[in-house]
Symmetry: C2
Subunit: 580 residues, 2 copies
């Protein structure tokens, strides 16, 4: 059959193995063409062509339920479930998201982008089935990289107790985003090397039956294995050995680079040289220098070293002062507390959205214990990642309301470096430094300050009726608005608050005679900085207008449009000010 004619998995269930094989080849071609032209999760999908086909071939989807962990390996699953046009036709490339999405298809059960949740979610499906007398298979598909996450381990531990049909496919490609970390991977290696026969088996130890599939990109092997477990009345793990990047030599070779890429040259995998420098580069370069000067400084990542500027070369330079705990944010935060307790200066670099996985560790292990660990967040705010599961809108409301943690937001390169250095020097204060997500800003300013006590920085003096307090990435917006106001004869003062966890009441008191204070923050405003200003200034005179990102989960928003919708263009800000 023609691959592009596939409307649903039913269309492939009557095919013979040769036809399935041809289908796999064709789907991989289509996949690779889209990846090269459009970018996306490359290695995870190339390695999951055959398993996706075999799953839909064997199981009666959508009656049987498949939950994909992190769900960035589901491109072929999408092709098989009515969405092949979004891969085969460039005009429709953006019709689908990069993750499972129930709004697109009944075959997609959850909208997921954070790892390690599939098993837990699937236990709920299985328990509901058992309570209501259902008979469907429940399948969780989870990669080895996601296995280090606490939620996955909690889920695996609990799942065995269900005692009924529960199938976990361990997609073992011997990689996380970068290399795997943790003792479990030694056990996976042992299982691979013994063709699954080793008695010491993490899955059996957690109560699962176990099947090993040495050729996890071989359709016959997969179909055979899935048929064996279909209808199982016990929790069972199917451990499949797959190759990340399968079928595209550059991706097979450089698995870390091809985990996720922008567009590339399909002939050799090459791509444009990196564009201009970003704050990620600034961070990595600065940490490497700092670590060289002081052996007690440790940079940590939880499975995303590239996202914080530590590619293989930087990791090699940092040596034992760089720690990748694997995808395990709770471990990273608590380990940071332990490092700090013992006199080291830990700096955990983390995507804003993933730090959400460690609230309790920030609260108890770090803050209650007053451990001077530093947490540097990336991709926060409107300029960060814009998939709904990866939004960086919520780090400020989540963390800045935990007592005892200083939450700093840098506005330019000089301040960013000063904040990093200051945070590292602290002896009893945990600090978050939010990395700007926009283009690097260069400006002069007084950055060599004690950020615990520093007042708001007056960036632009202006004695008119308006003052704008703008944090982090949004300082330039305030400056542009002030410029518009000036051309309209209105003077506005512009302040950089430096930290958003608490108020500089002395400076705020000096603003009592103004008519309007505008706060600008690059995060969901509910629970944020502006509402604190509004509460403090209530009854003192000025009106406070709180501007920032909405309390919402938008998906793949257009940045310019999103800013305008939220009254965040310089002109809109100036208009609000002029109404004062």
């Amino acid at each position: 059959m023609n691959a592009t004619d596939i409307k649903s998995p039913a269309d492939i269930r009557n095919l013979g193995i040769d036809q399935l094989s041809q289908l796999a080849t064709r789907l991989r071609e289509i996949l690779l063409e889209k990846l090269a032209a459009h970018g996306g999760h490359c290695g995870p999908n190339l390695g999951f062509v055959e398993p996706a086909i075999a799953l839909h071939y064997v199981f009666d989807t959508p009656k049987d339920k498949i939950v994909f962990d992190v769900s960035h390996q589901t491109y072929v699953h999408k092709m098989l479930t009515g969405r092949i046009e979004a891969f085969a036709d460039p005009a429709h490339y953006d019709d689908v998201t990069g993750f499972t999405n129930p709004a697109e298809s009944e075959y997609d059960l959850f909208e997921i982008g954070h790892t390690s949740t599939s098993v837990s979610l699937a236990t709920g499906l299985a328990k509901a089935r058992d309570l209501t007398g259902g008979t469907e298979n429940v399948v969780a598909v989870i990669g080895d990289g996601s296995l280090s996450g606490g939620e996955a381990l909690e889920g695996l531990d609990y799942a065995a107790e269900l005692g009924t049909n529960f199938i976990v496919v361990i997609n073992d490609n011997q990689m996380s985003i970068a290399e795997n970390h943790g003792g479990i991977y030694e056990n996976l290696a042992l299982l691979r090397s013994t063709n699954g026969a080793a008695e010491c088996n993490i899955f059996k130890a957690m109560g699962f039956d176990y099947i090993y599939v040495p050729y996890g990109n071989d359709l016959e092997s997969l179909i055979d294995a899935f048929r064996r477990v279909k209808g199982s009345t016990r929790p069972v793990v199917v451990h499949i050995d797959t190759m990340k990047g399968m079928g595209f030599a550059p991706a097979e070779r450089d698995k870390e680079h091809f985990h996720f890429t922008g567009p590339f040259n399909i002939s050799d995998g090459s791509s444009e040289a990196p564009q201009m420098q970003t704050y990620v580069d600034v961070f990595a370069a600065h940490m490497l220098k700092a670590m060289q000067q002081d052996r007690r400084i440790v940079t940590l990542t939880a499975g995303t070293p590239g996202a914080i500027g530590f590619g293989p070369a930087e990791r090699a330079r940092a040596g034992s002062q760089f720690v990748d705990v694997g995808i395990a944010e709770e471990q990273a935060v608590a380990m940071s507390a332990g490092l700090a307790k013992a006199g080291c200066s830990p700096v955990f670099g983390v995507c804003s959205t993933f730090l959400q996985r460690a609230y309790d560790q920030l609260s108890q292990d770090v803050s209650i214990n007053r451990q001077p660990a530093t947490f540097v967040t990336f991709y926060g705010g409107v300029y960060g990642m814009n998939d709904v599961t990866h939004l960086g809108f919520f780090d400020v409301p989540m963390i800045s309301n935990i007592p005892g943690i200083l939450f700093l937001e840098a506005t330019c390169r000089g301040e960013y470096i000063a904040m990093l250095d200051w945070a590292i020097r602290q002896t009893d204060t945990p600090v978050v430094v939010r990395t700007p997500s926009g283009a690097i800003v260069e400006r002069e300013g007084d950055f060599d300050v004690d950020y615990a006590t520093a007042p708001y920085e007056l960036v632009e003096a202006g004695s008119g009726p308006v003052a704008i307090i703008a944090a982090g990435d949004f300082l330039p917006l305030a400056q542009q608005a002030a410029e518009i106001l000036r051309t309209n004869g209105v003077e506005a003062a512009v302040y950089n608050p430096r930290k958003v966890c608490c108020l500089d009441t002395a400076t705020l008191d000096t603003l009592a005679a103004r008519k309007l204070i505008i706060t600008l923050e690059d995060n969901s405003i509910d629970g944020g900085f502006g509402q604190k200003v509004a509460a403090y200034m209530s009854g003192k005179g000025p009106e406070v207008r709180v501007l920032g990102l909405p309390k919402a989960f938008p998906d793949r928003y257009n940045r310019a449009q999103f800013m305008a919708e939220n009254k965040l263009t310089p002109q809109q800000i100036a208009n609000i000010a002029m109404q004062a």
Copy 2:
């Protein structure tokens, strides 16, 4: 030697085994006497007398570092480290907290009360040691009940990678707070039944060396085992089989009841019959009735069934509709999402402080996926638990700023039941219902409403210059303040906001002519409800005074004093109103 003469572990290191044995007997007597008179964590400490002695006997504390998981098993550790007076002398019983506390002793490394963090914290200590050339032993002591927590599993997985001295003592007493849950416990049972010889070994699978101690309350066995691993150059698990409640027959018999108790009769373990009914009882009774009427309703706990009113009898009645996932809050929240997706109505009852461990699951698995799961929090606010690690001040700032989750606060029995029923009926809205922590309030009101759209409830009309909006447990405070105001000739309106995640702007607009709006909330005010009101009302007329709990981590506060310090007595509230 006389037990009460022990000033530090050095005092016991020259004792012979017979003397250590006598010491254990004497320390257990002292412990039991205090427990009977004072209450506290009974079973965990009675079962850890010998291990605590053996640890300090073998290891060179405080140079060697011991991190106790959850740390409620450290009473004997405290006795051995200079604090025996706080156990032997009733006048000093309250000199120590119930957990490790660095402010008390250099032998206490962290202030901990949530489970499953010890291994991760200890990895930081070990890494710091390795970077700085230290030689001390690093020991994490963790109970089997804590092993189901994701952070513990992340820590164990990562620890093996350290490849250096790292000793984990698994204190296996075959119990969590209630019975254990999860597949790992089958493996622990296998290890016990094979005297540690089974090849299938969760710890070996995670990369640890392994030693089994069948008599974990036998000093000689323990000392021998600890000596074998002292100075180990590899990560190693020492699995000790102990008896929870050891040496006190009632506690050995009823391990769940004696996990934590108030004072009891030392002769037979009996204690006063429970006092008056609480909201916990209301919850359990209501859920039992609801589950009986609808098989799709499922009540979940994460290892604390008793804390939500589900003792052994209630669990038996609920049967398969009650799920205890073990101490694994991430699993509980994500499983709830799965249950909801499959058409069930999950209700996860959880201590406010422990829900902190599942922020990301609430955000992604539940809210982004619009799963109609219900989360019922307990022990929130000032009337909840008052140990610093167990404060319920932060649920509102943490959760109410996540988009899409309705956060309801009940003010009385009728409203609480109505909110539970309404939440269970939702089909696409996740709901938090905060259980009041104070005494049960009975009052009339319009509780049969659509809580998604219901306006603020006008509890007391009053056309004067003041309106008070008071959430949850604090509604009675507002009513008492209004009564004082009335006697002073000031009429105040009192509103119950019902939900604290968003505003009833229509009602707020009707208050524009008032001089003062006071918001009262039983949570840390930063990031809370009042600041949202203040931001909305800014420029509209009334001053907004935001009253509630401070952004702070107080430890074992006195409630009356704490309320007064935060201007939360009815008289103080009335005074603020009268200044308007």
